[in-house]
């Protein structure tokens, strides 16, 4: 229960991501960027925003998961991130409970 593991090197850095994986992720990110630019030029009205945000979220997830190593991190870090995002989301929801209904 107590996270007193002081094995500095072995535990967290034991999983080394290969160069190849990183390059693949990068290619994915560039592709998604191309998609998002193309979609923006397609006159989809309000869908453009939703599509753009969703693609941005996917890109962020890729960056976080692979580049920032979250996929291989302890549960603690993952829970931390969830908590942060949850709180941020509540700011949006409650502020818009005002803005959308004025």
């Amino acid at each position: 229960m107590s996270e007193q593991t002081h094995e500095h090197t072995a535990e967290n850095h034991s999983h080394t991501v290969g160069y190849g994986t990183y390059v693949m992720v990068w290619l994915g990110l560039v592709a998604l960027t191309a998609i998002t630019v193309t979609v923006a030029g397609m006159h989809l009205g309000s869908l453009t925003l939703i599509a753009a945000l969703m693609i941005a979220c996917i890109k962020t997830t890729l960056v976080a998961y692979y580049f920032m190593h979250v996929k291989f991190d302890n549960m603690v870090i993952k829970v931390f991130i969830m908590v942060c995002l949850l709180i941020f989301l509540t700011f949006w929801i409650l502020t818009f409970s005002d803005l959308s209904f004025r």
Partner: protein, 562 residues
């Protein structure tokens, strides 16, 4: 580098390491010294803000001008609020006692990032200096109220930028402290100290730290935008350029409401330490109290709109926020009931810290109940922006956190300084404070109900009697506070030596010397049970000696490693 033996034997007060004299303090990364650095600064600013409060009450003795002009009054209440909120109430318990006591309570030698800890103090001092400078430059301190509402904060001729910059820097200090505590509590608990064997003070600080880390940046950016607005006219909050003043209020209160939980959660954590100690009984409902700290922190993020009921928000938002506001009473109630249940059938030892806690429970409950009046839309319309609100928040912030700060000082004074104060005087001072507090603030509920607006310099004659009563209360209160601090100061200089554990406390800080040595422990202890068990020890203070002697009792060793 000092030798190891000295570090184990000499008290942190006397230790002389790489730096001598005053440098040994302002360059120290010892959490105990940093706690005292904070204490000195905080005490100075508390007295400054208290004096501003006294001046305010003097001015309000008569309608119209009494001792100052209206413009001055506006700056004084603004500064009173800024200093009290950012330089006293928010940092006091975490930065002083959290720093000093929490690492010892969890069996650590220091916090996770000691140099960052010292840096947080420098940030505090920088912010404080900026606040002082704002008094003497560019037209004087801001006169907007500590809430800096737009559009006035953008238009005011006073030095709003400096005051908000000060608050911005102070926000960073808070964030750094919170970050440090979260990592400390996750990573540095002694072996055997599972989460649910951790003292409730640490739980309170943990919940507080999460609010500090996640909420403070929002006010950071908000105040930064005020400065940009004043300097560059960006337009984000200026109605003339399309900005929405209500959006400013949203962003301001998104932080400032959770901020009040930053203020109260550590204080409540100390209540959970003091009560089992003086009832000589295990705390009732340990898990519930621990979880309720997290619950208060979480719900605290959801209620900020209750400061904005008359701002022009949508009706939907008002109903939503009012409903959510009532929810926060639930985890708060859980704590209060569990505390009272702790006293039931306890073997109560009356003493100054305990007395302060009783006062806290009574006064904070009044504050909390009046919060319900403010949280209900229909009644809020009548009392919002009146003295009713002023009374409410002084009851919860001052009567809540402030009184607990006094309690905490008395509780850990013998541990921190190795001296004991005069108990009788402490109790008398507490009584004077309780009386003065209520005479000062209770009339404000009545005045508010009768229509006295807050932050008003002038008022109608029929309210004067109440104002005079309130001002007299302020003199009694200050008398009590000065008496209390005088007692402690005298004890610091000339008091008798204190025992290692004068109260019979069961948490780890009472197992080390008073005052503690530089590294707190000779060896990191091993924990074998909960923090408030009175009939048997739940710590092994010198595991290398005691556990080795347990003749190869392998099961015990294994239990310890996780």
């Amino acid at each position: 580098m000092a030798d190891t033996i000295a570090a184990h034997e000499v008290s942190y007060l006397e230790y002389e390491g790489k730096h001598k004299g005053i440098l040994g303090w302002v360059l120290s990364t010892d959490h105990k010294r940093i706690g005292l650095l904070y204490l000195s600064a905080i005490m100075v600013f508390f007295f400054v803000a208290m004096t501003l409060g006294i001046l305010m009450r003097l001015e309000m003795l008569t309608p119209g001008e009494t001792i100052m002009k209206p413009q001055t009054y506006n700056s004084i209440f603004t500064l009173h609020g800024v200093i009290m909120v950012f330089l006293f109430i928010i940092p006091a318990i975490p930065a002083v006692f959290g720093n000093f006591i929490m690492p010892i309570q969890i069996g650590a030698k220091d916090v996770a990032f000691p140099r960052l800890n010292l840096f947080s103090w420098y940030l505090y001092m920088t912010g404080a200096t900026l606040a002082i400078i704002s008094l003497f430059t560019g037209g004087g301190a801001a006169d907007t109220g500590w809430t800096f509402y737009v559009p006035y904060s953008v238009r005011s001729a006073q030095n709003v930028s400096f005051t908000t910059l000060a608050a911005f820097v102070l926000g960073f200090s808070t964030i750094v402290t919170g970050l440090n505590f979260i990592v400390t509590i996750h990573r540095l608990r002694a072996p055997g100290m599972t989460w649910f064997r951790m003292p409730l003070f640490a739980w309170g600080l943990y919940a507080t730290s999460w609010i500090q880390v996640l909420a403070t940046p929002v006010i950071g950016i908000t105040l930064f935008l005020i400065i940009l607005e004043r300097l560059l006219g960006v337009g984000v909050f200026d109605p003339a350029l399309g900005g929405d003043p209500i959006l400013y209020q949203h962003m301001f209160w998104i932080y400032s409401h959770p901020a009040v939980y930053i203020m109260i959660l550590p204080a409540m954590g100390v209540v959970s330490e003091i009560l089992p100690t003086f009832a000589r009984k295990d705390i009732f409902g340990y898990k519930q109290i621990a979880i309720s700290s997290l619950g208060i922190a979480l719900i605290g993020y959801l209620v900020w709109g209750h400061h904005m009921f008359v701002s022009g928000m949508s009706d939907t938002a008002r109903i939503v926020f009012s409903l959510l506001t009532f929810l926060v009473a639930i985890p708060t109630g859980v704590k209060i009931f569990n505390w009272v249940a702790t006293l039931y059938k306890g073997s109560i030892k009356f003493s100054a810290p305990f007395y302060y806690v009783l006062a806290f429970i009574f006064i904070f409950s009044i504050g909390g109940l009046t919060g319900l009046v403010l949280g209900a839309l229909a009644t809020d319309i009548h009392v919002t922006d009146t003295y009713f609100v002023v009374a409410h928040f002084h009851y919860v912030m001052f009567g809540g956190m402030g009184i607990m700060f006094f309690a905490t000082m008395h509780f850990w004074f013998p541990k921190m300084f190795g001296k004991m104060y005069n108990e009788k005087i402490a109790v008398i001072a507490c009584t004077i404070i309780i009386v003065g507090f209520n005479v000062l603030y209770f009339p404000m509920f009545i005045m508010g109900y009768m229509g006295m607006p807050r932050r008003y310099y002038d008022y109608l004659p029929h309210l004067q009697g109440w104002h005079i009563l309130s001002t007299v209360g302020s003199w009694i209160l200050v008398g009590g506070i000065v008496f209390m601090f005088g007692n402690l100061l005298y004890a610091l200089l000339k008091g008798p030596k204190a025992a290692q554990n004068p109260w019979g406390g069961t948490t780890l800080e009472w197992r080390v010397s008073s005052p503690p040595t530089v590294e707190n422990f000779d060896e990191i202890p091993v924990v074998t049970g909960g923090p408030y068990v009175h009939d048997k020890p739940t710590y092994i203070m010198h595991p290398s000696k005691e556990l080795v002697h347990q003749d190869g009792d392998k099961s015990k060793k294994e239990k310890v490693t996780h």
